[in-house]
C-alpha cells in the first residue's frame, strides 16, 4: 500500500467531504461516500507517484460511486427532498433563520442540477479548480465544462431569484461585495 495515499487522505478529507456533501445533499451520505472512495483508494495496487493526482482520482471516484448509488438513496434523503421544495421563512422566525434559509435554498438549488452539472459547479465554485483540471478529472471536453458551468450557475440563480426572501438576501450580500 502506498504511503503517499496514507499520508494524503487525511489532508484531503475536508475537501472530499464538502464535494460529497454537495453531491448527496446529506452529511451522512457524504461520509459514506468518502469512506467508500477512501477504501477503494487504499485497496488500489496502483503506485501513487504524484500526490497532486490523488485528489483528482478521489473526486472522480466519489462522483462515479455517487452516480452508482443514486438508486439506493436512503429514506431520510427522500424525506428531505419532499420538504425542501418549499417557500422561504417569513414573519417572526425570519430573523433567527435568515442565514439558514438562504443556505438551504442554495443547497436545494444545487440539488436540482444534473449530476454532471453538480460535479462541475462544486469543483469550480466550491473547490476552485480550473476548467482544465475539471475537464481532466471528469473526463469531459473543456467546452462542455464551460457551457455546463454557465448553465448551472444560471439555473441556481433562477431558482434563488424565484424565492422572494432569498432574493432580498442575495441583493444585500451582493451589495456588500
Amino acid at each position: 500500500m502506498s504511503k503517499v495515499i496514507q499520508r494524503e487522505l487525511p489532508r484531503l478529507l475536508p475537501r472530499l467531504r464538502r464535494f460529497a456533501y454537495g453531491l448527496t445533499g446529506a452529511i451522512d451520505s457524504a461520509d459514506d461516500l468518502v469512506q467508500g472512495a477512501c477504501e477503494r483508494a487504499l485497496k488500489q495496487n496502483k503506485h501513487w507517484d504524484k500526490e497532486d493526482h490523488i485528489d483528482r482520482w478521489m473526486y472522480r471516484t466519489i462522483r462515479n460511486m455517487h452516480v452508482d448509488q443514486l438508486r439506493h438513496q436512503q429514506v431520510v434523503q427522500r424525506f428531505k427532498e419532499n420538504v425542501l421544495d418549499d417557500q422561504p421563512f417569513s414573519e417572526d422566525s425570519e430573523t433567527v433563520y435568515e442565514k439558514t434559509i438562504l443556505l438551504n435554498e442554495v443547497r436545494a438549488a444545487i440539488e436540482t442540477l444534473s449530476e454532471e452539472q453538480k460535479a462541475i459547479m462544486l469543483l469550480i465554485c466550491l473547490e476552485g479548480y480550473s476548467y482544465r483540471e475539471v475537464s481532466e478529472t471528469l473526463g469531459l471536453p473543456i467546452g462542455t465544462v464551460t457551457s455546463r458551468l454557465a448553465r448551472g450557475r444560471n439555473q441556481v440563480l433562477k431558482q434563488l431569484d424565484a424565492k422572494q426572501g432569498v432574493t432580498a438576501d442575495v441583493k444585500r450580500i451582493t451589495n456588500d461585495c
Binding site: 487522505l9 489532508r11 464538502r18 468518502v34 418549499d86 465554485c125 458551468l149
Partner: protein
C-alpha cells in the same frame, strides 16, 4: 453590440472571467465593461455571490465530526489524524445507573412514548434503573432550545448527572403545510454509552418541537 446581446451570447466568457480563466487582454476588456455597464457588473457579481454561497452552504460539513466508519478507517490506515471541533472531554462520570437505551428512546419520542427496539453500544445490563424525570425534562428542553434558536451547524451542549448531549441543527426546512421543521443531529452520552442519531423535528409552538423521524447512523429508522 448591445449589452443584452453581449450577455446573451457571451455568458461563457463572463463566467470564465469570473473564474480567472481568461488571458490578460480579455480580462482587461471585461474589467472595463464592468466599470461602464451595470448589467455586466450585475451578471458577474451575482455569479460571484453564488460561488460564495455555495462554498458556505457545503462547508457546513466541516463542523461535523467524521462518521464512525470513516474515522475508524482513517485512524487505522492513515498516518495523520484530522482534527475536528468536537470535544467530549468534559463528560461527567455516572452518578447513578440509568437506562441508557430507555432514556434515548423516550427522548427520541419527545413526548414520552415507550416502545422496544432501540439499542446502543455499551452495557445492556444497565437497562434497569429509573429515569430521572428532571434529567429527561432538562434534556428535552435543551433539545427544543437548540432547534428554536441555534443556527444550523452550531452545536448546543448539555450536561447532567450521568448524561450529556450535544444537539446540532443541520438544516431548516418548511413543509408544504407551512410548518417549520429542522433536521438535527444529536450525540447522547449516557452512563458512558454514546449514541449519534439524526432526525427531523417540526415546530408546534414556541420551543415546542415534535420529532417526526429519527434514524440510527446505520440508516435504521427508530421513529
Amino acid at each position: 453590440m448591445t449589452v443584452k446581446s453581449f450577455i446573451r451570447w457571451d455568458e461563457q466568457i463572463l463566467n470564465a472571467f469570473l473564474d480567472g480563466e481568461l488571458d490578460s487582454k480579455t480580462t482587461s476588456i471585461i474589467d472595463e465593461a464592468m466599470k461602464q455597464d451595470l448589467n455586466v457588473r450585475s451578471f458577474v457579481q451575482k455569479r460571484r455571490n453564488i460561488n460564495k454561497l455555495t462554498s458556505e452552504a457545503f462547508s457546513e460539513i466541516d463542523k461535523e465530526p467524521l462518521s464512525d466508519g470513516l474515522q475508524h478507517l482513517i485512524d487505522s490506515q492513515c498516518s495523520k489524524k484530522p482534527t475536528f471541533n468536537f470535544d467530549f472531554s468534559n463528560i461527567e462520570k455516572s452518578m447513578f445507573s440509568m437506562a441508557a437505551s430507555f432514556l434515548l428512546l423516550i427522548f427520541g419520542f419527545g413526548a414520552g412514548f415507550f416502545t422496544s427496539g432501540l439499542s446502543i453500544e455499551g452495557n445492556p445490563a444497565d437497562v434497569k434503573a429509573t429515569v430521572r424525570t428532571n434529567t429527561l425534562k432538562e434534556m428535552v428542553s435543551v433539545h427544543n432550545q437548540a432547534l428554536e434558536t441555534a443556527p444550523s451547524g452550531q452545536p448546543v451542549s448539555w450536561s447532567g448527572n450521568n448524561a450529556s448531549a450535544e444537539f446540532i441543527p443541520v438544516r431548516t426546512l418548511k413543509t408544504k403545510d407551512n410548518q417549520y421543521c429542522r433536521e438535527f443531529k444529536e450525540i447522547l452520552i449516557i452512563d458512558g454509552n454514546k449514541e449519534t442519531r439524526h432526525g427531523i423535528s417540526c415546530r408546534e409552538g414556541k420551543e415546542n418541537w415534535h420529532t417526526k423521524v429519527l434514524f440510527h447512523p446505520s440508516g435504521q429508522k427508530i421513529l
